[in-house]
């Protein structure tokens, strides 16, 4: 089983090593400090002395809630719209693949381009729709910058979630829907009482997956706002990157990284349960 060994060496070992590092002084510029045992100090530092840590926990939390919610709702709407098939709809489905092949870093770049206050396309668009927003420096205002980061993420993930949900919708038996329609149920009632319950397992998988990805968002944030203005859009991944790579505090960032692994374990467990129940 060479493959299992490779997986082990490339994924499990770093986890254990990161755990070890999280208990050391671990400064890149100080030789030997990577083996200098420190105890729980990195963790207590994060919890009690670092408002920036809590800030990024907050940012990541709000970000995850918003992106998961918005992406799921938009994708569900789009999936319902596209599911019936036909020429226009299937070419729309093909188009959906394209944004997904775009690297997240590039999505970040393109959104920065679009929201440029002087010549950005979105800026011009919103300026016409909602005049007070004309020529606003989107990325300079903490709340607006956060909104743009959320938008970029939602935009990037809608295609994938939509395609998955279309797959899910295809497995909802048509005759149940038709039976309900014959009985005179309105479109909304059919959706709420027939389609939605049948779709629930797929929706659950989609929500769990998206939560995992939202929690560890890095690429778009780095290219779009680099955590700024200030720390308004600093997600946990970005916070870890900054402390570890820019300030050289490997030990400290390893401990924050491990704090991040904990919610992942729960989500992965939930995901595995769903996947294996289906199999």
């Amino acid at each position: 089983m060479p493959a299992v060994l490779v997986v082990f060496a490339t994924a499990i070992w770093p986890l254990i090593e990161a755990a070890r590092l999280s208990f050391t002084v671990g400064r890149l510029n100080r030789p030997g400090s990577l083996d200098q045992y420190l105890g729980w100090e990195n963790y207590t530092w994060a919890f009690f002395e670092e408002p920036a840590f809590w800030n990024s926990v907050w940012v990541t939390g709000v970000y995850t809630l918003l992106t998961v919610g918005l992406t799921t709702i938009c994708a569900l709407g789009l999936a319902l719209l596209l599911a019936p098939g036909g020429r226009l709809r299937s070419s729309a489905q093909t188009l959906l693949i394209l944004p997904f092949a775009m690297s997240p870093a590039l999505i970040g770049v393109s959104f920065r381009f679009m929201f440029n206050p002087e010549f950005g396309l979105f800026d011009a668009f919103f300026g016409v729709m909602i005049p007070p927003l004309a020529d606003v420096s989107w990325l300079a205002d903490p709340n607006l910058a956060f909104a743009v980061v959320v938008m970029a993420d939602v935009w990037g993930w809608i295609p994938f979630l939509t395609l998955v949900l279309i797959g899910g919708l295809a497995s909802v038996p048509r005759d149940t829907i038709e039976a309900a329609q014959v009985d005179g149920a309105s479109g909304w009632r059919v959706f709420k009482d027939v389609t939605l319950p049948q779709l629930a397992p797929v929706l659950a998988v989609v929500i769990i997956l998206k939560s995992i990805f939202s929690l560890k968002t890095f690429d778009q944030v780095f290219m779009l706002t680099n955590g700024g203005p200030g720390t308004a859009t600093q997600t946990l991944s970005h916070y870890i990157y900054f402390n570890g790579m820019k300030y050289g505090q490997i030990g400290y960032s390893a401990s924050v990284a491990w704090l991040m692994v904990i919610p992942m374990i729960f989500l992965t467990y939930a995901y595995a349960k769903f996947v294996f129940r289906k199999a």
Binding site: M1, P2, A3, V4, V6, V7, T10, A11, I12, P14, L15, E17, A18, L21, L34, L78, L81, L88, T94, L95, I97, L98, F100, A101, M102, S103, P104, A105, L106, I107, S110, F111, F113, M114, F119, P159, F160, L163, V164, G167, L209, F213, L215, F218, D219, M223, S237, Y241, G244, I250, S253, A254, A257, M260, V261, M264, I265, T268, Y271, V275
Partner: protein
């Protein structure tokens, strides 16, 4: 309003919504596409019509940006990663699919779980190790960490494809005296080849678009295309026409690859997901 009119209205509304959605999904890539062919002056205006120029692509490959080197790095890294990942993953996937191993579920879940570990967590030890053994800023180093992302994904995906191949032919061949390896080579591989190709393309796209590892592990020699984007942040702000040209070079091959495998797209993505 009669029922018929109502129906027509609904139909028109749906079509309009679909068109709007398609438009929204396309605009950012389209805008980049346009900007890549705009001259330095045109890019700062919201013009839809302009005299297209290929100049940006020339500048991007010249000094000081030298995107060619990054393109070369990206290609080598993604290609070699796939070259190693697919054969190893195929063997593993075959074993998972055909033998019942002790602790199989646990192993599969663990492999899946590694997929979900945030990249920032595992990059820290890799950085320290690579620094100590001199693999920082090398293509070999990048290939190693890319294998870490791609392998679990490939194992899960290929296992899905092999599970779908009926076992009868294999058993018949075994009865006729073929060895396990012969069976794999003569029966399983040909039948699984569309699946293997799909997995390979997936892995290629993932490795190609990988950002965080390349950002941390490279700085000059082994820089890949996505990191190369940062080059175009000039003193006086971003050079958008050049950024867009570079963006096209990154996007275009992936679009083509993604379209090639669009049938298997969803299936692949739900099984192993990108880190």
């Amino acid at each position: 309003m009669t029922g018929r009119q109502k129906k027509q209205l609904w139909h028109a509304l749906h079509t309009a919504l679909i068109l709007i959605a398609m438009f929204v999904m396309l605009v950012p890539s389209l805008w980049i596409f346009l900007a890549a062919f705009k001259s330095h002056v045109d890019v700062y205006q919201l013009k839809l019509f302009f005299t297209p120029t290929l100049e940006n692509f020339g500048v991007v490959f010249d000094d000081p940006y030298r995107l060619g080197e990054k393109l070369y790095n990206s290609t080598i890294v993604a290609f070699v990663t796939v070259l190693f990942a697919i054969p190893i993953a195929t063997l593993a996937a075959y074993s998972f699919s055909r033998f019942s191993l002790r602790g199989e579920t646990l192993m599969l879940v663990t492999i899946l779980a590694t997929q979900f570990v945030p990249a920032v967590v595992i990059i820290l030890p890799f950085f320290v190790m690579f620094r100590d053994i001199g693999l920082l800023d090398t293509r070999v180093g990048l290939i190693l960490v890319n294998l870490a992302i791609v392998m679990p994904f490939a194992i899960w995906m290929i296992k899905g494809f092999i599970d779908g191949i009926p076992m009868d032919t294999e058993e018949a061949a075994m009865v006729d005296g073929s060895s396990r390896l012969q069976v794999i080579r003569n029966i399983v591989l040909p039948m699984a080849s569309p699946g293997l190709l799909t997995s390979a393309i997936f892995c290629f796209i993932i490795a190609w678009n990988e950002f965080l590892f390349a950002l941390i592990l490279t700085n000059k020699e082994a820089v890949t295309l996505p990191i190369g984007l940062a080059l175009f942040k000039g003193e006086e702000g971003d050079l958008w026409n050049l950024l867009s040209a570079a963006g096209i070079i990154i996007m275009a091959p992936m679009f083509v690859l993604a379209l090639m495998i669009r049938k298997y797209f969803v299936q692949g993505m739900t099984m192993g997901a990108v880190r």
